[in-house]
Amino acid sequence: MRNIFLFIRRYFNFLFFLVLQIIALSFLFRYNKFHEAAFMGVANELTGRINTRYSNVEYYFHLKKTNELLAAENEKLLNIQASNFQPADTAAKLIQDTIPYDTLGNKRKYLWRSARVVNNSVALQNNYITLHRGEKQGVTKDMGVIGPMGLVGMVVNTSENFSVVMSMLNRQSSVSAKLLKSGEIGKIQWDGASPSTVTMINIPKSAKVAKGDSVVTSGYSLSFPPDIMIGTVSEVIGEKSSNFYVLHVKPSTDFFSLRYVNVVSNLQSAEQKAVEEAAMKNQ
């Protein structure tokens, strides 16, 4: 027994080092799996506040570009407003509002909330975005995040006032996507090489693909509404060993100048998830 104590005293520095290494490694591997590391909620609040300060200053230099983007998005929205389309019969009037049921009996599925970006990186292998909107403002895990130009990412972690978004430029990100023209479903991933290129896989060689084709969200995902712009095909690579194409896609979102995004929540996702899980259990 005495020898054990002596051993511990003698190598205390080394043992202490080992303990810290193990703690740090467990943080790393646990977070990669579940995106919920120790103290992440508390740390989010703190780093979020510092990020907000920094972003307040930096925001100034991008006002012009932000304005242009918002104006462009407004124009797009005005063009699809119901009042632009006048039916021949003036007695029938199309009314849309924000309560779950509209007058046509459609149930609201997606609810959009705007959020400000307070931190964003593109230089790392796993890039995350911090938004100044959290649980108190209705953001929860797994919600989709869409910018003025297209898809941005998915919420992976939230605290009271901030939320962390896994950007599309993240090694672990995987988004279900389709080719707008032919409707083939594939998957969008990032290989970490360049922030201006993502890869689309699982497109069979029978599909007709050309450079410049649009890639949009498929609608199979619980987080994203269908037909949200992701990007355009910039290169078509036919792998000789397989029956699939690898498509290089240029994201329509400019990740370098992201200021405002929309967080979209699927109000029917719980119901869909429940019925899918029930079906899996019955097998």
């Binding site: 080394f14 080092f17 290494q21 790393l28 990186s121 593109v122 962390v164 970490g192």
Partner: protein, 177 residues
Amino acid sequence: MSKLLKNTIRFVLFILIQVFVLFQVKPLHQFIVPYLYFLYILWLPFNTPRLGLTLIGFVFGLSLDYFTKTPGLHAVPCTLIAYLRPFLVNILIRQEGAEQNYSSPSITSMGLAQYATYVFILTLLHNGYLVFLEWMNFGTFLYFLGKVMATTGVSMLLIFVTELLFFRKEKFRTNTA
């Protein structure tokens, strides 16, 4: 300025510069990521106790991790270099008792060649271990090799520039006065 205050300010500055300046640099290439923050650990005073040094390394790495949302990724290599630092200093110090006469590792206290070796070995270890952890999750061997070399080169360059810009005056302390 007291040593504690000076090092606390440095702690905050190094983290903020890494997060808000160096990580914001538009990426030139996948392999090139400018890491400078660990210079804080290399600059800590000689008389920091070993246990404290390891703990500071861990806390320092973890604080950067909470900004990049990768808890553990930077804490692991920082703990390693903080733990190995005293061994290297012992091997590379120029003359007997220099760690009593000077307060912290620098060109004046260790000599240019020794200081450069000290910085290079710890930089290589830090970047190697960091990229190794990334490589375990994804990537190929070429990714590992290329990124270790590229990041180490960039880090050395940044450290060199930092040393030139912020020349640290080291007073020669004697107990004979």
